[in-house]
Subunit: 112 residues, 4 copies
């Protein structure tokens, strides 16, 4: 079985044991993804990358996991095939950021 | 090969063709995760879930993919095994939200 | 004395008594603004507006205040005249959203 | 007239000319505050504070203004006296971060 499918099944089992699907509309799941991303970012507030990773590695790992857990829930709720979506988005990014323009540059595609 | 490994390899190839690892410190990757989560959330601003999903499904799919793409980059850069991190976090959430307390309730664990 | 000046002076006095200006670079202040906005938003997770405001009014008030406190610190650190910036932005928004196009519509200006 | 009152009146006039109060429930305003804070933060992605402020000062000023504009709208919609809320929050922060513990330290109060 695919890893995404296996992890999604684990997350859905966790959700359903608690009867939580009733709360999981896409808008609140999108809010939750944003909140979890902030909780990851909070580990870096007032710190360099090195200080943050050195001091908060366990919390960083947990918050990163929470982000992907909510991504799996969101994908399930909205019928998105996450693996396919990622493959297609990498392809789109390839077109938005052609190597000859993007090489070594942090300019956003909209400013090319 | 695992799906996470295969997708990570695709994302790293995209990054390295552009010589972008030099920009990818964990703090800026955490910022990027937060920005992508906001871009997903923007699809729901002033809208119900139904309106948003009905109107913006293609952009929603792209932004969700971007979040996971940055999660793969962040995990790679900080040496986190993302599959293991997710499994461990589900286990922690099981302990934080025992079924008998959490069933049908949206109360946060810190308020039990 | 202007209210913005008086509140800014209070916030700077708080900061300087703790010798915190050393941490207050614009990038970390921008991160802090984003984190505080998330803490406000967290009050609305899984809730309607009415449930959130009814249940969490004290925390909502505190988090809103924290956002503006960081806005004052950010403006001070970057030399922005916040009152002038707000007046100019309202003027720009007037041009971006002409009444005849924007009346009763939640369409973003980029989609006009 | 107080500056906060005067700016709030300007923002409400802008809103009412467009008949937008119908969209401005507190939950969507909180989402909007978070989105605007992200737009400010985006100016700092992949950049030092100096690079960002040097390159994007006009956009930084606009996004900071948008944050405070939404804070004024949110306060108006929820009946919060923003000036009083800020004064009270500074007082609370004084108690949470006593000078003798907080001086020169970036430790969060919850870790004292």
């Amino acid at each position: 079985m695919s890893e995404f499918k296996r992890l999604t099944d684990m997350v859905l089992a966790f959700r359903d044991e608690r009867d939580w699907q009733q709360f999981h509309n896409p808008k609140d799941l999108a809010i939750s993804l944003s909140l979890e991303a902030s909780e990851l970012l909070e580990n870096f507030q007032w710190k360099t990358s090195e200080e943050a990773v050195g001091k908060n590695s366990e919390n960083i790992k947990d918050e990163l996991a929470d982000i992907v857990i909510y991504a799996l829930l969101f994908a399930n709720e909205t019928g998105i095939d996450l693996v396919e979506a990622i493959e297609q988005k990498i392809q789109k990014n390839n077109e938005k950021y052609p190597v000859e323009k993007a090489y070594g540059s942090k300019t956003k595609y909209s400013e090319y």
